[in-house]
Symmetry: C2
Subunit: 298 residues, 2 copies
């Protein structure tokens, strides 16, 4: 299954008939292929579903290329990012090439599938923009955070599930909801790991998000839990390079108020919801994907 | 006609339902709407043709946003570019939003139209990349230059004409060829004007292209015409900030060998070819577009 996927992606890249693009694309590590795996666990393996899975992975790769430029991220999957190795401009152009090739191939699958996926890309782009806008100051609104991670991360996972269900003549609404739930859980966990994982595991200093101005769910809950004078302290730390002692204070406050546990619980609730949906559908491998996402050390 | 076009574009932007995007989009000057005008002079004014025209203008705007980041261009249509006013990242994200909204809307017109336009966007992105790659050293190959401007500039104009012909049940090949010819003429003229127009007309210093490493058609012909020792001199000027005296030498050599006239002639030949095609089709306004493109002071 995954072999056919990789060959289809390779074929798309070769069809571009451009040496520069082929060389650059070869520098991008493949990643987990989560979206493709979802599609190929929902729909039977036909030319359409394999194409769809390859397209979604191309689009996801394009979004990460632009993402890394926007976030000044120099590592991706434990390798230097394309922008780090070849500059921002190269990453922008390669992203545009992969996006447009993805859209071109989408046209030949099914109109409704093309609409579902391209709408998700709009949401993803709006989410990226919202992430940057929200990072300009401390964001205390859980609603704004949830909307942003829905757009930035969950929308393409949701769309992948829904489009695969459409190809498979399954219940689109159930698979759509499943995709959204695991997409939201995935981003919440990613945001927790930024706090709890070691800098070695992350390939960047811990708590980078907050230093970069990103008020993820743990910080929103922490703000709610703190007293007035502590809140001012937290706000004064936002978006700055912090000293050991300041990082330690935040960590202690997370512990004191059980914030990380609360966030893990929230991610697990989403994963459980997703698991139950797939129990009803009788799809065991999708239950496992949802469970594996949250069954880990934090 | 153009009023309906502007209202459709406005509707697309409003449907994104995002304040940041609306505010930023309002900062982009409308431009000449060449591609939309072509579409609406080829196809009857139906919902589909007006939508297609609006989509192509969104896509064109997106490509210029990324273009200006890649070229470090700070002026666009005599106003500061989005990257100059709001930074590269904002321009990248806004471009992604407009591209994906354009692709989403394309799905609801016609599959073949969607393929023609999205394939042109891939060509356009590959052309942008080729432009950067070619700029790294002096490019003496006319073939590489022509392929690059075809991809970067002519492909979307060609695709607009062809897609409009498809909607209008006209001869796709004729309109496709017409679009390619005026697209090529357009870029050659743009490259000539970089040399012949005043810096005030251009909003940037004259001969910027060569200083930025771009070997446009006049420089390729000049290189061919020069003697060995003069060629070395020209090569030594490539991609550098030049002194008055050095610029004057290039200008004198252009005059001596009649290079600019030769390039104008080549653009006019393309425009004439396009005009003759439309004479046969009996489409006077498209003849006029082709003629107006080259009937100007250089």
């Amino acid at each position: 299954m995954l072999d056919a996927l990789e060959r289809k992606i390779e074929q798309f890249i070769n069809e571009l008939n451009d040496e520069t693009t082929q060389k650059l694309y070869a520098q991008i590590p493949a990643g987990k292929r989560l979206r493709a795996a979802l599609i190929l666990k929902i729909a039977p393996h036909t030319l359409s579903s394999i194409k769809l899975a390859a397209i979604v992975e191309l689009i996801h790769a394009a979004s990460l290329l632009h993402d890394d430029v926007i976030d000044d991220a120099f590592m991706r999957r434990n390798k230097p990012s394309i922008n780090a190795s070849f500059g921002n401009k190269t990453a922008i152009m390669l992203g545009d090439i992969l996006y447009s090739k993805g859209f071109y191939e989408l046209c030949s699958i099914d109109t409704k599938v093309a609409q579902i996926i391209s709408n998700a890309v709009t949401q993803l782009s709006l989410g990226e923009q919202a992430d940057v806008v929200l990072s300009k100051k401390f964001n205390a609104s859980k609603h704004d955070y949830m909307k942003m991670i829905y757009q930035k991360t969950a929308s393409l996972i949701e769309a992948s599930s829904e489009a695969a269900a459409l190809l498979a003549n399954k219940d689109r609404v159930v698979y759509r909801n499943y995709g959204r739930a695991i997409g939201m859980a995935f981003q919440i966990i990613d945001d927790i790991l930024d706090i709890t994982a070691s800098s070695k595991q992350l390939g960047k200093p811990a708590m980078s998000d907050f230093v970069e101005g990103k008020t993820t769910l743990p910080y929103i809950y922490l703000y709610e839990a703190l007293q007035e004078n502590e809140r001012s302290k937290l706000l004064s730390y936002h978006g700055k390079k912090l000293k050991e002692q300041q990082l330690a204070w935040i960590e202690a406050k997370f512990k004191e108020h059980g914030i990380i546990e609360r966030c893990i619980h929230e991610a697990k609730a989403l994963a459980l919801e997703a698991t139950l949906m797939m129990q009803q559908e009788g799809n065991e491998s999708l239950q496992k994907i949802a469970q594996d996402m949250v069954d880990r050390d934090f």
